[in-house]
Symmetry: C2
Subunit: 512 residues, 2 copies
């Protein structure tokens, strides 16, 4: 899917890429262990191919999840959109006597497509094996997991979706099954919503939510997806930016022209595109489009306080080979609470071996436009178009006609793709405040609160369809290679995740 990079995994990818060069996993993350039955079931789950492009595979996974629920006494059903062609979401519900609040736990059972030949020797996407550590960090194959196997601390399960996001399904359902054996009672009504098409960009999610909105009413959604902070800290994410991509094409002559014979005379669309894009930001990275920041809801004092507490990005900056960051020295967390535009693609003519001395006929840029709470896609796009027009361009959303080319010296085509707006749950939202309190109570280990990731997920879709607040609780290790080859998960992270999610289920949320 073209949009795949800005779907759920977009928001959590940051932590994944930060993983390289991150500190080693703190001991806290390794607390807890998984019993043999839990591991055996998870290995079986990971053995099912789960690319949503294969409907039969998707359904087999959905049925497996239903069986997991059945073993835990959870009534389940498959939720389809009206066409019933897309992979279904698996829904489950358990009422808790006396509970006044209902929480839906979200995860997705589908995974990214695989390229098996890229996986390391001894690894295969749907034949889980134990490895000593991530392959990229020098890990070696320990062999298949068996109930009798004893592996050294830090071992991983290597398989597609071991981390993204069968881990979320696994953690949510095992949290429900009294993992500590304390027979503590649940404090809330629990619902589960396990999507089957997330890695394709959730194209039918809105329709499914819309068709089953009554069934999905709740007081809070807890999204169990994505990796924890790269340093291994527990993480709680309260929002995401919105996103829309934009294509800009500038036109020159209607056929390629010899750069020597026509240079100085014919307009060069590559030069014009450069001049246009070069005027988008000042030297500090501040966007110069009039009004671009006007609709953004400013960060609250509480959000700024969490950002100030967040671990430093300086080691990340250094590992990325960046001498100086943008944004006038503002913190990363503060910068991603601002709308943004990044150039993600430039193309005109040719460079390298295929270069020719030719003035290109057109020059194209792709922009990644991010929105924050308060921003609207239509208003931001209109501002961009007005900015281009103010530079003297005749702006179209299609290729110019021959007549238009001769009538307008400067022509730009500006088109936008699919997009969605931002979602940000306030820290002061009582259900969220309580989740934070629960997580801080269950363990002394550090909890990093992220007011918003810079990346995007279609959480605004849950907000607009269902209205409930939401919080994302990632549970897996950041060096999990999600989406790539040799995906892995650290079972100790799964165990800690189960403990944390269980704590949320046990609380009655009467305090807020």
């Amino acid at each position: 899917m073209q949009r795949s990079s800005v779907t759920w995994r977009g928001a959590v990818w940051m932590m994944a890429v930060l993983a390289v060069g991150a500190a080693s996993t703190p001991a806290a993350a390794q607390s807890g262990t998984l019993d043999a039955a839990t591991l055996e079931e998870y290995i079986a789950f990971l053995s099912l191919p789960n690319d949503a492009a294969n409907p039969a595979d998707a359904l087999a996974n959905a049925r497996f999840v239903q069986a997991m629920m059945q073993r835990r006494g959870i009534a389940s059903e498959l939720l389809y959109d009206i066409d019933r062609k897309a992979p279904p979401a698996v829904f489950g519900e358990v009422k808790t006597p006396g509970a006044t609040k209902t929480i839906v736990f979200y995860a997705h059972y589908d995974g990214q497509p695989v390229v098996p030949e890229r996986w390391a020797a001894g690894l295969s996407p749907f034949r889980p094996v134990a490895i000593s550590r991530p392959i990229e960090q020098g890990g070696t194959v320990l062999g298949p997991w068996t109930p009798a196997a004893r592996f050294p601390a830090g071992w991983r399960i290597a398989a597609r979706s071991a981390a993204d996001d069968k881990a979320g399904v696994m953690v949510a359902l095992n949290a429900f099954r009294d993992p500590a054996g304390t027979a503590a009672r649940l404090g809330v009504n629990v619902k589960f919503f396990f999507e089957g098409e997330e890695e394709k960009g959730s194209p039918h999610l809105r329709a499914i939510l819309h068709a089953h909105s009554e069934k999905l009413t709740s007081d809070l959604w807890v999204m169990v997806d994505g990796p924890r902070h790269t340093a291994g800290y527990r993480t709680m994410v309260l929002g995401v930016r919105g996103v829309v991509d934009v294509g800009i094409t500038i036109y020159g002559a209607n056929r390629p022209l010899h750069a020597g014979n026509y240079g100085n005379w014919a307009p060069n669309p590559a030069l014009r595109l450069a001049a246009l894009l070069g005027s988008l930001k000042d030297a500090d990275g501040r966007i110069l489009i009039p009004g671009f920041y006007d609709d953004a809801v400013p960060a609250t004092a509480a959000e700024l306080a969490e950002i100030a507490k967040a671990p430093s990005m300086d080691a990340t900056r250094q590992s990325l080979g960046i001498a100086r960051t943008q944004g006038g020295g503002k913190l990363h967390g503060e910068l991603v609470l601002l709308p943004g535009i990044e150039i993600t693609g430039l193309r005109a003519g040719a460079t390298g071996a295929s270069a020719a001395n030719v003035i290109p006929t057109e020059a194209e840029a792709r922009l990644d436009m991010r929105l924050v709470k308060g921003d609207r896609i239509d208003r931001q796009l209109a501002r961009l178009v007005r900015f281009v027009e103010a530079k003297g361009y005749y702006v179209l959303d299609r290729t110019p006609t021959a007549e238009e080319r001769l009538a307008h010296p400067l022509i730009a085509r500006v088109v936008s793709g699919f997009g969605y707006e931002a979602q940000r749950t306030a820290l002061a939202e009582p259900m969220v405040t309580r989740v934070k309190h629960v997580l801080e109570s269950v363990s002394p280990d550090r909890l990093v609160v992220v007011p918003s990731t810079g990346g995007s997920l279609p959480l605004s879709l849950f907000a607009s369809e269902l209205g409930a607040p939401m919080v994302t609780i990632p549970v897996v290790n950041a060096d999990n290679n999600q989406h790539g080859e040799n995906e892995n998960v650290d079972p100790a992270f799964l165990a800690t995740g189960i403990t944390n999610i269980r704590a949320i289920m046990e609380d009655d949320f009467s305090d807020p």
Copy 2:
């Protein structure tokens, strides 16, 4: 060859591309006819494959040219460079009793590589056939030429190198053979130099000229290559621009970064490249690099007078779909007497179907830098580097090290390719003045004098190795598809070319 687009054909390509939409061939160009023996020999010549990449093919062509010379009583030899591996040049010489001046006629017998399957049905690169007009203009195959064939006016011979540049060899040698049968005597000593590697960028030409410079002494070189003006007018070209290509790479983080999660924070090399390139020129296209125009020898009054007389480019502008040209309204001919920079390639990240929401690690541009008389490659490159440095960049000619990345916020790699300088023969040069007089005397048909093409040829190499002045007299029709499929030549142009070149041979150049 990477540099192929700026070799000989570069300079004449302008006229070729202008051909589309040009006026039909004036009657003048169709004066003269070729006799059957001349055509038969030419068809045989065109039947020899002549890609210089195949040494045996090249040698077969050189031997054929020697046989043509032998039939005309011209003593010939093959000129090699010291390694004797490259295709040889064919050299011939005829002394004229009483002559005081010597003129060398240049052409090349090699041709561009062919892709036979791209040629129209019935056409094959090395099986010449007659066509009614260019295939792209609706031409049809008339059949193979035979001595008995009678084709309608405007017919063409379709074959590789029919125009570029076996036509030059053919015209020069047939001009020597008293084509009008008047038994008029030659007025100058005549030499021939037919290169065999031009379409590969003439990599051994300097060595050949250097090794045989004594043999090649002359008072004038006449280059018989390239198409005449698109409107069919006779054309005389006095110079070419020099060229050097430049690659600029701007660096960001050392790995691709999620545009949402790192946007506003991480530097974006695509944005920086855009800002840098966008500052290269003002809105009128004038280059803002300090000193960039300082070394250029200004156009003389005589050159400006010829430019003012040149046919209007307005029909070309319209056919190209250009509403307004660059250069503040200056004429095309005047603009190509200025140095130039064109962006011929831009690349960063990805656009279109492969686009991703990623901040690229680097952004790359390719620039085509043109030089005019007076400009030196080293000085122009140094000015560009200083300009980039003045924007705050640390400039390298290689990839930065990890330490350099962390030490310098702005890093640019600037590298240059092979290049050569401009060549421009003054209109006032006596041999050139006389050529113009001869051409104006031999026919009342319009003669377009081009002080310099915008494109480039390594003519400066002849100038530096041999010192003689030079003039280019193109002879073939502009709609000849040189370098492409379905290459063709109008035999009427060949006949006119023979008449014109013969006139130069008959003059004794005693007047200057």
